[in-house]
């Protein structure tokens, strides 16, 4: 702190510590991780000099290994959509554990209105409802799914904001309730064979398109709108937000509703991509979504972080998962290593904050 001089008014201070956004650190970490995998690929004898992300074949039409890149992004896109909502919840200093089971429950609910009547000329063998629910326009399953998510989010938010149940407990309860709803909805049977329109939502690279579009929208909302500003303010100092006249309770309900609607949308995309909805879908999604946010620099104490950070956190997680497979690391080791990385991310973040203060 060079010029913390207490001169006239005593109010000059060090400006040099400004800038260098946290997002750049994560980007840097991403690059380093990629380089490490490249080095392992080039040097480890069993890898025979394969490249991780670059195209080493004798062609000139591309520099990157596009197939692998696509897989990486596609892998994280659906959980990434959940993470966009979880990020907002964590910024208010809350947590949402119910998103994974909500994905499954929404997949079941939405798919049951998105089925097609005839499969190869035969009646749909997995039909849940009668003919009235078959071949409906795609808007119906989407709207029903999102409305279902909004209801779950409103319940979460109401318990947390108005009844002052700790977010961890409220959403843990909702975690079990949603898994129960997913099982109860069709008595445990999978719901399959969507209409062509419904199948399009999650086809090919569509999940990635949704993820990117939603990320851009929410980055703008969080940075440039009253909603975003109040979300940060509540996480930063809830008492101050209340005294400033922000309706903290109503705002929290809105944040949890938006988070649950994003998780519900992830469920719609996932069921569409898989062409089926099953009660066991989305296992551990809530935890991976939280991990993405945490790796992306969202502080669990609230008030700090950005959507861009979470997107980068999602990419880090995707690259690590894909990289471990690429260097042929056994699945059990992958889980252990990933757990270590998540803890390391939080430790680093806290160390960084303490240094700054």
């Amino acid at each position: 702190m060079a010029d913390t001089s207490h001169g006239t008014g005593g109010l000059t201070f060090d400006n040099s510590k400004r800038s260098w956004p946290n997002e750049l650190n994560i980007l840097l970490a991403l690059v380093i991780i990629i380089i490490v995998f490249e080095i392992i690929g080039q040097t480890a004898p069993y890898m025979r000099g394969q490249s991780f992300l670059f195209d080493t074949k004798d062609r000139f039409d591309s520099i990157f290994n596009e197939a692998r890149l696509q897989i990486i992004i596609l892998q994280v896109a659906i959980i990434g959509i959940i993470a966009l909502g979880v990020t907002q919840v964590i910024i208010t200093a809350g947590i949402d554990l119910s998103s994974g089971p909500l994905v499954a429950a929404t997949a079941m609910v939405a798919m049951s209105f998105g089925q097609t009547e005839l499969v190869n000329g035969q009646p749909n063998p997995k039909a849940l409802f009668g003919p009235w629910a078959m071949d409906l326009p795609v808007m119906i399953p989407v709207v029903v799914g999102l409305a279902f998510g909004a209801c779950i989010g409103a319940i979460n938010g109401t318990f947390i904001a108005y009844l002052r149940i700790p977010p961890f407990i409220a959403t843990l309860g909702m975690f079990l309730i949603c898994r129960g709803i997913a099982l109860w909805w069709s008595g445990g049977n999978p719901i399959s064979f969507p209409t062509e329109q419904f199948a399009f939502i999650g086809s090919g690279m569509m999940p990635v398109v949704w993820f990117i579009v939603l990320a851009i929208i929410f980055q703008i909302i969080m940075s440039y709108t009253v909603y975003g500003k109040h979300t940060y303010a509540i996480g930063s100092n809830e008492e101050a937000a209340r005294m400033s006249g922000i309706n903290v309770k109503r705002h929290k309900v809105m944040v949890y509703m938006i988070a649950s609607m994003l998780a519900a949308f992830a469920g719609i995309v996932l069921s569409s991509k898989a062409s089926t909805a099953q009660a066991g879908m989305g296992e551990f999604y809530e935890l991976f979504a939280i991990a993405m946010a945490v790796i992306g620099g969202i502080s669990l104490q609230g008030g700090r972080g950005s959507i861009i950070g979470t997107v980068l956190g999602a990419m880090v997680l995707g690259v690590i998962r894909s990289g471990f497979t690429y260097i042929k690391l056994d699945g059990s080791y992958q889980l252990m290593a990933m757990g270590c990385i998540i803890i390391a991310a939080v430790v680093l973040d806290q160390y960084r904050q303490r240094n700054r203060a």
């Binding site: 500003k229 940060y232 100092n237 937000a241 005294m243």
Partner: protein, 260 residues
């Protein structure tokens, strides 16, 4: 408009069995600066919390400029023109100066977007600069977040917030309790600026020198009751007098019956 800025009658607050504030009758005239003094737990902050709508009073009446008011929350009080610097700073640490100045009353564009209406950062930055200039607060970079500022700078931001909205009544609850000498001097300068501008102020403070420097009148609280009303501008009171009122050695004549 009435010449009395703020008037309370029988203002009382009980927390369960604890009688934190008992029958406070208080008046503040136009342009007047009044200090509220008293020992810890004497009811100073409780009194402030009742008139700013942060808490709901047990009984009693409050008038602002002759109009009886009943605030449901701090926002109501603020909209009525009462600006408050709280003892615990009501600032969001991760936001910058304009964000904090305008927290809860942001300037916006495209209001039809409801909660997603767009913030008018440019106008808010401009207004912030104007407000800081008016109050004489020096903050080198208003884009810095509060967490990167010293205690004095934080306090100045909090005070600039109250002073920048041309309020009808400013209340400061121990604004210099945690500050150094230089920072205290700057806060006191802001108070003088308000006095020159004719803005009424209620100052809660423990600092005897500061109170004698800044205000016209001292109200002393003791055990939840007002026990003295000292016109220090016109009558000859010393710090020792005030201390004896605070500790209970003396009681103002008009409060003999009620104060204990």
């Amino acid at each position: 408009m009435s010449d009395i800025v703020l008037k309370t009658e029988d203002l009382t607050k009980h927390y369960g069995g604890v009688h934190a504030l008992q029958g406070a009758n208080f008046e503040l005239k136009r342009g007047e600066h009044v200090a509220i003094m008293g020992d810890n737990g004497a009811g100073k902050s409780t009194f402030v919390r009742q008139i700013t709508g942060v808490e709901q009073r047990t009984r009693g009446k409050v008038w602002l400029y002759g109009e009886e008011v009943d605030f449901a929350g701090p926002l109501d009080a603020r909209e009525a023109g009462i600006e408050t610097v709280f003892q615990t700073l009501a600032l969001a640490d991760h936001l910058d100066v304009p964000d904090n100045l305008f927290l809860g009353r942001e300037k916006t564009k495209w209001d039809w977007l409801g909660p997603f209406r767009v913030l008018d950062y440019k106008a808010m930055r401009q207004d912030t600069m104007d407000a800081l200039q008016r109050t004489g607060v020096k903050i080198p970079n208003i884009r810095n977040t509060i967490e990167r500022m010293s205690g004095g700078q934080r306090q100045c931001v909090a005070i600039a917030r109250t002073a920048s909205f041309s309020s009808k009544l400013t209340i400061m609850d121990e604004p210099t309790a945690a500050l150094g000498v230089q920072e205290t001097a700057q806060v006191e300068n802001i108070v003088r600026t308000l006095k020159e501008a004719g803005q009424p102020l209620i100052l809660v403070s423990h600092n005897m020198r500061q109170v004698f420097d800044l205000v016209d009148r001292i109200i002393v609280f003791r055990r939840g009751r007002i026990c003295a009303n000292l016109d220090i501008k016109n009558d000859d009171y010393t710090g020792e007098d005030v201390v004896s009122y605070i500790t209970g050695a003396k009681t103002g004549e008009e409060y003999m019956e009620t104060a204990t």
